[in-house]
Structures are given as structure tokens and as C-alpha cells.
């Protein structure tokens, strides 16, 4: 009887079919959404991009210093670093302040390009390489522009990725 009723009621049949199709689509969509949101590779990719962004910013900070706003600049340096590098900056701060105040230089840096060379997401360690153009303006003479190849080590802290080591890529002894 019920079957007769339903078959004799096309709109109802259509409604049932549509609801079933919608339920199927919702199930599929939900699975797809879940699958997309719980992708390990995506989390790793996000960590990589976070590390690169933080690394580039930190490298730029470390190559930017205005003698007129020295304390502010050095605070930024300390904020961009952690571990040994941070300690070195804190320890050497006074001497460095004297040095820069005497030289009266203004350094600005532009990131040309950067890449993450290694990333240990779990341990919270990463390596970055950054191509940089630094312009140093002294009170006298033309601004000096130099291109700089920086290699940095990053450590993840509670405040995000920070530089734990930074240096120029060595040159000369590897070629030939």
C-alpha cells in the first residue's frame, strides 16, 4: 500500500531521491573536506612557508640598522633571534652601540630571494638560504651596495621561528 502511494506521488519520489542524492553529496563532501584538512603534507608545507617567512624577515632585520634609532634596531635584532645568536647579541650590545655610533651608518636590506633548505618540523629546526642586497650609507660618500648570501639556522620557539645562527655563505675554498 505504501509503495502504491509513493509511486503514485511523483513529487514525493523526487523529493526522496533528491534527499538521498544530497545525503550522498554531503557524505562525500564531508569526507573530502576532512581529507583536505588532515593532510600531513599540508601541515609540513605550512611549517615550511612559516619558517621561510620568519627567516627572511629575521635576516632582513639583522641587516637593517639606523644609527639614529640604534636601541630600537638592536631590540629588533634581539627579538629576531634565539639561543646562542641571541646571547651573542646581548653580550656584544654595548660594544656594538659604540661602534655604530662612531660610524654613523644606516643599513637597509632587501630580500631578493629565499628558500628553505631543510626542515625538521617535529624538532622545530630549519635551515634557510637568503639572497640579500644590503645598502650601507655612511655620513660621507656614496652608499655602498653589496649583495649578500646568507645562510641561517632557525629554531621554533613559542613566539614562532627565530634565527639561532646566521652567517655568510663561505666563498673560494670550494670551487675548482
Amino acid at each position: 500500500m505504501a509503495r502504491v502511494r509513493t509511486t503514485g506521488n511523483p513529487p514525493l519520489v523526487a523529493a526522496v531521491v533528491l534527499a538521498v542524492v544530497a545525503a550522498g553529496a554531503a557524505g562525500w563532501g564531508g569526507w573530502s573536506r576532512y581529507d583536505a584538512a588532515h593532510d600531513d603534507a599540508a601541515a609540513y608545507a605550512q611549517a615550511r612557508d612559516d619558517a621561510l617567512a620568519a627567516g627572511e624577515q629575521a635576516v632582513q632585520n639583522m641587516n637593517t640598522l639606523d644609527h639614529a634609532r640604534l636601541e630600537q634596531g638592536l631590540d629588533t635584532w634581539e627579538d629576531s633571534t634565539t639561543g646562542d645568536l641571541h646571547q651573542q647579541l646581548v653580550d656584544g650590545r654595548e660594544a656594538f652601540v659604540k661602534q655604530i655610533e662612531a660610524a654613523k651608518t644606516v643599513s637597509t636590506a632587501k630580500i631578493l630571494s629565499g628558500a628553505v633548505t631543510e626542515l625538521d618540523d617535529r624538532a622545530g629546526r630549519a635551515g634557510v638560504m637568503v639572497a640579500l642586497r644590503v645598502t650601507v650609507t655612511a655620513p660621507e660618500g656614496e652608499p655602498a651596495v653589496k649583495e649578500s648570501r646568507m645562510l641561517g639556522r632557525l629554531t621554533r620557539t613559542s613566539e614562532g621561528w627565530k634565527l639561532s645562527a646566521l652567517g655568510q655563505a663561505p666563498v673560494g675554498n670550494t670551487a675548482g
Binding site: A15, V16, G29, S32, A45, S113, G114, M129, A131, G176
Partner: protein
Amino acid sequence: MSTTRHLVNRRRRLAVVAATAAPPRGTAGPGPATASDPEAAEPRTPSEAEAAAETGTKAKTETEAGAGAAAREDAGAEGDDAGDADSDADDAPSAALRSRRPRPHVRLPAVLCAATVLLGAFAAWAFTSAASLRDDPTRQNTALTDISRTSEVKGQITEAVGAVFSYTYASPEKSEKAARTYLTGKAVQQHQDMLAEVRAQAPKQKLVLTTTVTESGVELLDGDRARLLVFADQSNTRTGKDEETTYAAAMFAVDAVRRGDTWRIAAIDTFTR
């Protein structure tokens, strides 16, 4: 008979009131009997309902109740459809009955429609959300996340850079061959321009240019396209009368494309202003 009937009906009426005062079923209000009222439904038969209808206006409420109950009985007997009581209930001129008759018809499609809309909306949101998650540039870039591809492109581009930016005056064809093997598109002309001076000077000064990649990192890896940042050392040796070697630090980015199994350099960005 009439008196007995009347008493019986009265009892039913009271039962109906009690039943509707209890947790209501649907929106019926203090109207006819509901299916949850077993006392009203139990003793009724369609013929009794008709008989009740004949007792006149005084018994009208009871009739409605009876007809409703009869309808319910029918429904119970024939499946879950109160609408089948139509033939029996036709005799009862009841507005209440007419108003409740379409309810089961309306309710099922309404629920289905609501479910369809809600499920459909969820599905649309889920697919859109999943697609936007997957289209995120961060995910599209598989540098480092795709370990084998990352090391493949790093290895091949390191080799390619070393080959095309090395030049020996004694065998210039070696560099030509490397250029044909590793370069494609815009990079071919860029390489020509970059090495033009070396080529011109090489025979006279007996130049040997050697390029070694010291660091490379994959900035972007998306299918068959990649961009790498390269730090390289270049040693330039003049093997003329007095041998002299100069070192230079180079940094540049290369765009790479994968053709078949090999990565080729498609463009070289030396960050010139």
C-alpha cells in the same frame, strides 16, 4: 440505546480531553482524538463512527473523535497512512478532520525538502572548502614536502649549473653541448650573453672557468615547474704565462622545467636591478 451510546460517547470525550491535555501530538489542540489515545481508538469501528454521526449535533465532537479514531484504525490496518480513512470519514462534516488530513502528506515532503536543502548546503560548503584548502599556494608548492622530487630537481639543477657555467678554452664544444642538454627557452639566450665575454677572452688568456654550486634550495616545486635559489662559487683561472685564479661568489635563481625525466633550466634570474 441512545442513552448508553451517549454515556459511552461522553466517556470517550473525556478521554479525548485527557489525551489532548497530555503531551500534544502535532498541532491538533483540543480537537479530535489522536492516535496516542488508545481508549478512543480501541472500541471503534467505521460503522460505529457512522452511527455516532447520526446522533446529531450534540454528538458532533464525539463523531469527530470517532471518525478520527476510525481513520487511525484504518491506518493501523493498512499501513501508516491516515489518509486512507477518507471513505469512512467523508460522512463526518468536520473542519478539524479536513485540516488534519493533509498533515502527513505535507510533513514528509517538508522534511525531505529541509533535509535536501541542509545536506546540499553542507555538501556545497564542504566541497568549496576542500577545494580552497587544496588550491592554497602553500599546498601547491611541494618543495620539501615531496622529498624525492625535491632532491631530484636539486641534484639535476646543481649538475646543470655546474656544466653550463664551466668553460675550458681547450674544449669549448663541451660547454656548447652542456648548454644544449641543460638549457631551454629563455635560458639559452641568457646563457649566450653571460658567457659571451668568457668565450671571447678564453683562447687568448687560456681561461678555465669552473662553477660549483655550494648551496641550493627549492623555493617552489609545482608539478613540472620549479624555482631554485643557487649559491655558487666560480673560479676563473688564466693558464697563460703566469697562472692566476680568481674566485667569485655568485647567487642567482633559476626557473626549471621538467621534460621527460630531466630537469632543464628555463630562465636565470641574477637579481639585476
